[in-house]
Amino acid sequence: MSADNIQTLAGTTIEVLESYAFLLGGPSDAKKGPPPFADPSWLVILAFSGSRAGGVGMVVSPAMARQVAANLAGTEPTQVSDEQARDAAKELLNIVCGKYLHQVGPREALFDFAAPACFVVAREKAVQYAGGKPQATLEVEDHPLLVFIEN
């Protein structure tokens, strides 16, 4: 995975958030930094194998996941359960991963996808997990979102 790939992953994430969840996002302000992550945050991971093995992940605030779920269901975030919000976060990463691999993989590539996993972890541990991996921090309508590549 080249360093350019993280830019592709970040761009894909922004595009999917807009088209799928109707949320606007972009790179976080380099000077100001992103809004703080919630504590605990959710660490969402999706592994793939096949033409290339690896994974993608994200650290997301529960409030943002709730907003994604609410937008998908056409309801209010307060009416969304934790289970629905976690499901929405996993499906979001699923879509991002599929589009990302389509852009960076060879045309004839074939991948098998594991089921995405969503862990509730302390903010520091979530950010630490992504530490040292190619990563990008985004700001999505006042919510922080960190995306990263494994392997």
Binding site: V16, S19, Y20, A69, L72, A73, G74, E83, Q84, D87, A88, K90, E91, N94, I95, C97, G98, K99, L101, H102, G105, R107, E108, A109, L110, F111, D112, F113, A115
Partner: protein, 128 residues
């Protein structure tokens, strides 16, 4: 004619999104069934009349590939059109699924326009 459509996906939010997209597409729906995997879908297809199946590929217990194979091997079900709705955009996967007997392949996030075009291509234009 109003359509009976079955959505198969292990993600509740994915099923919700597709159901909303079908409504937004203005399609005439008689019944909208949902299943969380291939096995549940097969069980439902034994007791409910369905005009079209929209299914994900990667699911626990029985995935979309196997669901399509089982449907194509069952007299009662082999003529029901199946459309894949998946995050997997690879050309090889699309070719594999087409060879397995699916009639359409949509990548997530699916749009109401794409759904409408696909459903009407396969089932004809419905009416309220």
């Amino acid at each position: 004619m109003a359509y009976n459509i079955l959505i198969v996906d292990d993600s509740l939010m994915a099923r919700t999104f597709i159901a909303r997209a079908l409504e937004m597409a203005g399609l005439s729906l008689s019944q909208l069934h949902q299943a969380t995997n291939g096995q549940e879908a097969l069980d439902l297809l034994q007791r409910e009349w369905v005009d079209l199946v929209l299914t994900d590929i990667n699911m626990p217990d029985m995935n979309g590939d196997e669901l399509v194979r089982r449907m194509r091997a069952t007299d009662l079900l082999k003529s029901i059109p199946v459309v894949i709705v998946s995050t997997d955009c690879s050309e090889r996967r699309m070719a594999e699924m087409t060879a397995a007997g699916v009639q359409g392949y949509l990548t997530k996030p699916v749009t109401p326009e794409d759904l409408k075009a696909t459903v009407e291509r396969l089932l004809g234009k419905g009416s309220q």
